[in-house]
Amino acid sequence: MARAREVPGFDCDEPFAHAAARVVSVRAAEIFDYSDGVLDLEDVEPVHDMRIATRRLRAALEVFEPCFPRKRHRKALKRVKALADALGERRDRDVAIAFLEEVAEGVASNDRAALTKTIERLREEQRAANEALAPAVAPKRLKKLRRRLDKLVKAAEA
């Protein structure tokens, strides 16, 4: 799992709003850095890493809410939540498939066919979730989100 990066210059005695700018800036950069390979169905790690990074950014946006202009903050948080949801839909299927494949050995032989069908259904859902995720992680969309978050950081620094 991706570790959270250190926040340079993080100082407990500086104003809350300045810390908000520092933390959100680093956490925002992380989600873009983890966007490579998220649509690869053969490798479940990139989507997991990007999801964790998105969760951390969301947590930072929520925690520092009073430091940002209200309307701009609300819109940014809404976009980040939508991204997190799309990543979550895909990740939930990845986890469910891995879980069922892991427990398959412990399932009675007369239940194996039904279990295989359930896994096949989950793979279909995984593909659908991946298709729904694609526009959310398209470079153009991510660039737009990045600009939005940069503006938010600047407003907190001011």
Partner: protein
């Protein structure tokens, strides 16, 4: 489940007392949910407690440097709690998919029971270790520098 609002935060005030106030609110929220979540079949309460543990964990991930070593211990405890409750939640979300697959249903129910017992023991051990009460005291002390 919506997070409880944190009253009286001040963007111009130093980070440390603001951080203490946020952590204190998230800790209160977590502790308030424990009683309900300790009921064996309380799937909704356990899910809500998992969300509260996650919120506290992320808050402490951000603010631990300002709240001292107790906060690092509490962050690890919140992460363990989130993980344990997550295992229960995984069984709960998987159970509807196991409909008609009897041996899978039994396996999931057994796993759920084991994870529930581990969660209960973990919560009791954490309470006994004082991790939550120490964090509460620390945050209260640091929060006194701000207006109520």
């Amino acid at each position: 489940m919506k997070a409880r609002p944190v009253e009286g935060l001040d963007p111009a005030a130093p980070l440390r007392p603001n951080a203490a106030r946020i952590a204190l609110t998230r800790l209160d929220e977590l502790r308030a949910l424990a009683e309900g979540a300790l009921e064996p079949g309380a799937a909704t309460a356990q899910h809500e407690m998992r969300i509260a543990a996650k919120r506290l964990r992320y808050v402490l991930e951000i603010f631990a440097p300002c709240l001292g070593p107790e906060a690092e211990r509490a962050r690890d405890a919140a992460k363990a709690l989130q993980g344990g409750l997550g295992e229960i939640h995984d069984c709960d979300t998987m159970l509807p998919r196991a409909e008609g697959i009897e041996s899978l249903q039994m396996l999931l129910q057994t796993r759920r029971e084991l994870h529930y017992r581990s969660f209960r023991e973990l919560w009791q051990a954490q309470a006994q270790s004082g991790v939550w009460s120490v964090l509460q005291e620390t945050c209260r002390d640091l929060d006194t520098t701000m207006d109520p």
